[in-house]
Symmetry: C2
Subunit: 456 residues, 2 copies
Amino acid sequence: MTCSALTESGTTATEICDWLALRRDSAAAHIRRVPLEQLDGWGFDADTGNLRHDSGRFFSIEGIEATTDHDGRGTWRQPIINQEDIAILGILAKEFDGILHFLMQAKLEPGNVNAVQLSPTVQATHSNYTRAHRGGATPYVEYFTDGRRARVLTDALQSEQGSWFLHKRNRNVVVETAEDVPVRDDFQWLTLAQIHALLQVPHTVNMDARTVLGALPFAASEHGRTGGGRFVRALRRSLEVDGAADPARRTEVLSWITERRSHYGLSARRIPLRDVDDWSLGPFGLNHRHDRHFGIVGVSVSTEGREVGSWSQPLLRPCGTGMNAFLVREFRGTAHVLVRAAVEPGYRDTVELGPTVQFHPADYAHLPPEQWPLFHDVTSSASSTVHYDVTQSEEGGRFHHALNRYLVVEVGADFPTTVPDDFAWLTLGQLIDLQRHSYYLNIEARSLVCCLQTLW
Amino acid sequence: MTCSALTESGTTATEICDWLALRRDSAAAHIRRVPLEQLDGWGFDADTGNLRHDSGRFFSIEGIEATTDHDGRGTWRQPIINQEDIAILGILAKEFDGILHFLMQAKLEPGNVNAVQLSPTVQATHSNYTRAHRGGATPYVEYFTDGRRARVLTDALQSEQGSWFLHKRNRNVVVETAEDVPVRDDFQWLTLAQIHALLQVPHTVNMDARTVLGALPFAASEHGRTGGGRFVRALRRSLEVDGAADPARRTEVLSWITERRSHYGLSARRIPLRDVDDWSLGPFGLNHRHDRHFGIVGVSVSTEGREVGSWSQPLLRPCGTGMNAFLVREFRGTAHVLVRAAVEPGYRDTVELGPTVQFHPADYAHLPPEQWPLFHDVTSSASSTVHYDVTQSEEGGRFHHALNRYLVVEVGADFPTTVPDDFAWLTLGQLIDLQRHSYYLNIEARSLVCCLQTLW
């Protein structure tokens, strides 16, 4: 990463939000809820009850029976989204006047609360971009499929929500080109400084953009910003403590992850959706009998601005707003993030590292406070400082109004340094190193790393 | 790794082989083939036909239906070993007089051609070492489960044979202790130099020891050997070209792996063993109708020297000896190894990097030469030099007489530098970096890296 990527320039966040509003108007999208039985081209399989597209493509809603000894959860059944196709979530970068810019797209997704959000240059599955199904080709995909047209900055398969997707992964990739790139209507070149300003605005930078940008391998010494208070300096120092600076700690961290993955068992067996007893089909979709966790709902979309003019599809609708929080503590002037070994049924390898706290309060409302997740109340401590607190959206192509409150909370010197076995203190440099490889950080943690980047 | 780990010392390879022969005698093992129906404690499930232990533990033989677009293989069904339990393959290291030694075990496994081979200090599944089932506790396991007793040198989950195991992985770990360690009868401290000498002897250093030792992160500048010819110098330089020395190439290599994983589809669905039509049960086990690929056979073992005195179990018996070869070429004085993106049905993430050539000739005997794997005949080229050519055994606890010829072949300057998309030239430093993480190198490639280490 060049130092200038973070330099302030040009258009303000407000102007970019205005542009997104214009794109929203020009898309002229009409999105409405429809019963699952009325989805055009989708149906319930006669044998299994799975909800799938008539073509067998896109994705399907199936059942799993999951078993784990993590957190005493035992065995349960639930619906889950199955999508084997790997999407490219790709951001094209290019230097203008020595400043790295990223080509961001104003993209309509039917599950977004505000229809249009800022997304990667390319956000398309393999079947999207290899065959022009009922629509045009995917713009700019050639920069990601033809190695001669751009240089790779980062490129790894990463998981998505492990409670909602079975073994899903997408390709998170940033490439830099030196070519002249024509800019289409729905696209705009933005600097990291501009994107960071937009991350202070709820529901503006979409999940796919956050996970890709959160993996950018830039070093503290190169980011070109100086000054800032004690916490900002501690974050910058944290960025410098990576695997190269501290190889012994890198070995310890990798060994801790290996140990946690060996410690817990997890199996997730595909079962017919009709065998998932706790969910049942009603007029408002497929819902949990206590209205917990999530439901599956149908939407119908008509629009002018998208490659496919109108379609309908199922979406997963979570119950209530979730909370993803990183607790951060200074150790001798260097910020450390408290990550947690999370076990979710859709993970490919049992454990991925998640936020310190990751949960949906609505799922715990019926339980006494002592059964809520560890550290869930840390924002209420007098010695805590909240540095980031913005509600953001998850992927609107699969989820209906899936919102999470993202928090970065600095805890004081009274916070215990010794933590339970599922937790570990990592530096920002270590978190960025881990994202070079697949399946170390979960989607919620990667999103939070992106939000953290706005702070230094 | 300290420089002295490679220093020659003490006992010769012949003396260690004599010691292994003594242990073999003292084990007094009697191993004989028995029909699968006569295995004590094992049986075919009435519904599925799966072969499993009455306790539900250890492992089971099940069926899969696999589909991939790699190599035009399409869809097929086969038996596969399913074992969810993760084993520790752990080697305990300790310095004596400044020289790092490794505590190696003379271990009996029923599938070994010679019963006893040199194995890691600990080679035990979670259920082995957490509960003393019909036998004693696992010696030395406390050094791997109690972080205060040793320092970790390397620790990652790695896959095993992807055509024979479904999603299997074991923990490959080396720890160094400063404690006084009592040495039991079946154990001996060996230096790397001694182990490397033993790797020239067929069927002596077992698969588990090879995969763990192959991941040792030692730098060329530290290995303490000097001299050697042109090829040896090129290998040492290759060891120095790692991710730290060439971060841009590291990004390229990771991107190539990500691209190959996105390029191919792979699904492996568990099915009842009775639905695997091409294999059928006969007096000699479960065999392929053309006697290709592998069969499942039964063995009965009685012994004096093992924690469990006598038992019987199924083993997978491959048809014929396999071949795993690394082609190596010099580029401007630095050796590069030609790896291949392999797709095997039991992999967790579609692609792992394997040897340049990996196949069982018996499976191709009925096909014309042009349908044999690419580069299979490279040893016959006049400009090739064979630097390593030893037949080694695969894991004798699951396989019956599974033998592979391991080859390191230097190709001349006439060998093409541009290779098909599934191939890439990597340095030794890059291969060792990749082994810090799970599932980049397959078991055959990791074994070959261990054999390569004997050459410099």
